[in-house]
Amino acid sequence: MRNLDTQRARWIRLRMGVLCGLMGLGLGGIVSSAYRVQVDDGPNWRETAEKQRQRRLHVEPKRGTIHDRNGTTLAVSVEVPSVSADVVEMLRGIQGAPAQKAALRDAAARLAPVLLLDPNELFARLARKGRFIWIKRRTTAEEATKVRELGDPKKTSRPIRGLTVEGEGHRYYPGRELAGPVLGFVAPDGQGKDGLELALDEELRGHLEDVKGIRDRSGRLIFSEGTTDEQSLQGHNVHLSIDEGIQHVAERELDVAQRTYETKGASLVVVDPNTGEILALASTPGYNPNDYTDSEVDSRRDRAVTDRFEPGSVMKVFNVAAALAAGAVKPTELIDCERGTFQIANVTIHDTHVNDLLTPTQVLARSSNIGALKIGLRLGEPALYAAYRRFGFGEPTGLPLPGEATGVLRPKGRPWFEVETANASFGQGISVTTVQLAMAMAAIANGGKLLQPILVKKVTDGRGRTVREVTLHVRREVVPAATARMVAEMLTAVTEPGGTGVEAAVPGFRVGGKTATAQKADPATGKYSADRYTASFIGFVPAERPRIVIAVVLDEPMIGRYGGDLAGPVFRRIAEASLRYLGVSPSASAPKLKSAARDGDTADATAAALRPMMDDTPLTGPALGAVRVPDATGLAARDAVRVIMNAGLLPRIEGTGRIVRQVPAAGHPTPKGSAVRLLLEPPS
């Protein structure tokens, strides 16, 4: 401005000064704004940014695997690709609502055929413009590849932005229905919803709180903080005491029983009485956790644990054991069974069969209610109640399964009246679970020790290190070992000819156990129903050195009702298979022991007229179509029963030996479910 006059040059300088001042003001504004944002609000912003970065992963650490006792996989998580989209990212750089709409339509139209989706429905979901939208979960590998190609600029001229394909954990149950109610299932959000998946969810899921990832704006995981070792994030593996082979047999047999007898439900426990390890835990109807959405909610619960019922005669075992232990009754004492009718406080109690004097062994073998109640009343209310409690009734067994029922011993919350004590003596008016029965019977089988049932043997982490291990735990000594052994020996009479549980006898082994046929209370009337029963058999084998205890409970069989007839064969078949499976040889001196037992228990001689003795008067079942009665003459009792049962009829055995006569005669059309009398005579 040297060429200008002084005046004008001064003006220009002034104007420049003014402009510089304005820009200086602007700069001041910037700096003060930066101060406000960075210094004053800095901590808040930093927190917001942190939250944004450390969004919880929606892909969880790999869920732990569930194995059986031999390492067979029962439940495992596999990574399945899932496709999601960030619509904001998808529309980045596309201006104007019509153009964006067109872009989304285009994206929907291109994605839909690849993933077999409806383009309009997909467009509607995209149009919500979320930053994270599932497009399709659990795609196939080919679908995932095609989606990746749609988003790859190298593969297509118009890549769709914002698509993410990432592995999502999917739970797979290789055994399908096997142990379904025990295992439970996992919801798509990764939460265990039932069974062990729910009960052990925390351990199976892994340490979610430790897994923080940093994601960029398209949701990609950039890196993890601190824990980069994937195995340490992985959920723990669970090793069950369940034996897949035994579980399989148990489920198969229970299923057959369910279909044959048309039961409402059934539950079963196989337990090792020496360790408390549960080898099988079955419940029908079951379901396939792979397709849990197709199943009835009713079929998902594990009835052995969640359902309580009136046990009936099986409680006589614990009553007698407690009375023997307390000295209230002597093993050889004869108990007056009142010829089948006994009055107590206005209530008349009947036995199904008329008996005069019975030893405790015979009370169990013939399942005399009057005998049992006399023993129970001699023991007295407090002692009987305490004994049941000591056997583990009225308290949870501690199995790690959701919804375990405790059962109820004193339904009114007060000590029993005399008639209630009498009823409780043979298992009426109280409720128990199948697992409780199995563990109580295990206590008889193992010499008087009530064990903690073990379902989860071991939990290991992703690297195979043991996190926790469950070992034998004796909850308490219930009865002295000698008493337990005595009762166990008595119970072998039940499965021997003349007992109520002949059907449970396993060829080549001595079996101890107890049948029970309990009327169910009708919730509508509050009285016992005439045609609804719980049929069960709880037993152990081999009797002299028990390896397994099996509790079979059939709920409301439509065809037949007796524990010995219905549950007995189930017990036998499972016992046979399990013993074979466990390598227990039948040649283990069983016949010799059997004869020895007979010698020592002459009172239990088979000479007595023996029909299966039931607690309750059997009624004729509903006619379900006529069948022809098969010919059973000449057969041994066991085979005859099988033949008659297979025809859908109910055998009534009278006498011992071989069948000499049957009523109705062979070939006679008879309604299904009706009784067939079989008269036996020993071979002369």
Partner: protein, 412 residues
Amino acid sequence: MNLKNVRTTLATKLVPPLDAKPLAALAAGPVDPVFAAVVIGLIGFGVIMVYSASAVQATTQNHDPQFFLKRQSAYAAAALLAMFVVSRFDYHRLYKLTYPLLLGVGTLLLLCVVGFGHSGGGAARWLAVGPIHVQPAEMAKLALVVWLAYSLAKKAERVNTFTVGFLPHLIVAGVFMFLCLKQPDFGSAVVLLLLTFTLLFVAGAKLGYILGASILGAAFGVAAIRFREYRYERYLAWLDMDAHRQDLAYQPFQSVMSFGSGGVTGLGLGRGLQTLYLPEAHTDFVAAIVGEELGFVGVATLCTVYLVLCARGVRAALRAPDDFGSYLAFGISTMFAVQSLVNLAVALAILPTKGLTLPFVSYGGSSLLVNAAAAGILLNISRQVPEDAKDGMTPEAPAVDVADLVAQGAQR
């Protein structure tokens, strides 16, 4: 000393023929070392920040963490070379180049608009010449400054007339702005308008005209925002950022979050994490990463550096040997100042998103080369400061030191 003599010689030599060559002695003088150092420093700093801000995107998109670093380094080397060459190129020779430059840039802008443009961020701002992508809008800023300085210096006192001094400049600037708006590049249009008004004001155009045109421009700007749906949506989103933090205001919101999470001292160079979320972190929003990684201290320092840059530019303008040089130096300084101010204001969400780079720091070859060339011109002006101006006070200058005034004003 024989100061007076030198001055008169200069006056007679320089004034009448506008395109006359200056004294060889003057052209060979030393450049302003502070200005040169600041520019070189900023370019170097830019390379570092671009790397820090782009590594994630480069890895995920280009499978090469150094993808942008390599390119920016090459641009930086080219920019330094350009600055050096231009600083040795007598700015008076720009006289003859003014119109070719103006027409050339205008043509490039036109090509961009009529469909040769390459899309980027939804706008056709780039022209592809082989593998090189050029952004004509960046050149337009410098070309307009050169032309305005030329025209205003030539018209001298007649600047205060409407038809000769005001209207033609407005028309040329208007055409450029129109072409920028068509791309669409609203930010560059605003910068062009601000540059035009600044130089007209400095050169002595009537305040009334400028105010009138400002109102007109403001009305036009409002219309441009209101009737362009995407701009209006962006504007609304900017007004209510919290509600739109997931969509339209995502970028400014993330940017402010970056600044904020930096705090006072920052997370440390290369430790910024907002690059994962902030789109265009290495171009228009590089300041946000500076804020996150270097904190308020870094941002304040950066502002100070820009202040020094512009102050040295204005100093050169005040000391320039002639009007052309003076206007040119002031225009270039304003260009740096306006762009950096607007860019920082956008990054801090004081203004809605514009799409302007942070001079010398942001990633981008066109921007860097053009700014470096502008800096080269300014350096050339600074080396032609006459002897008498070098002791800080021209003989005719008022008792008040304007440079100090400016500095004071800037510090307010």
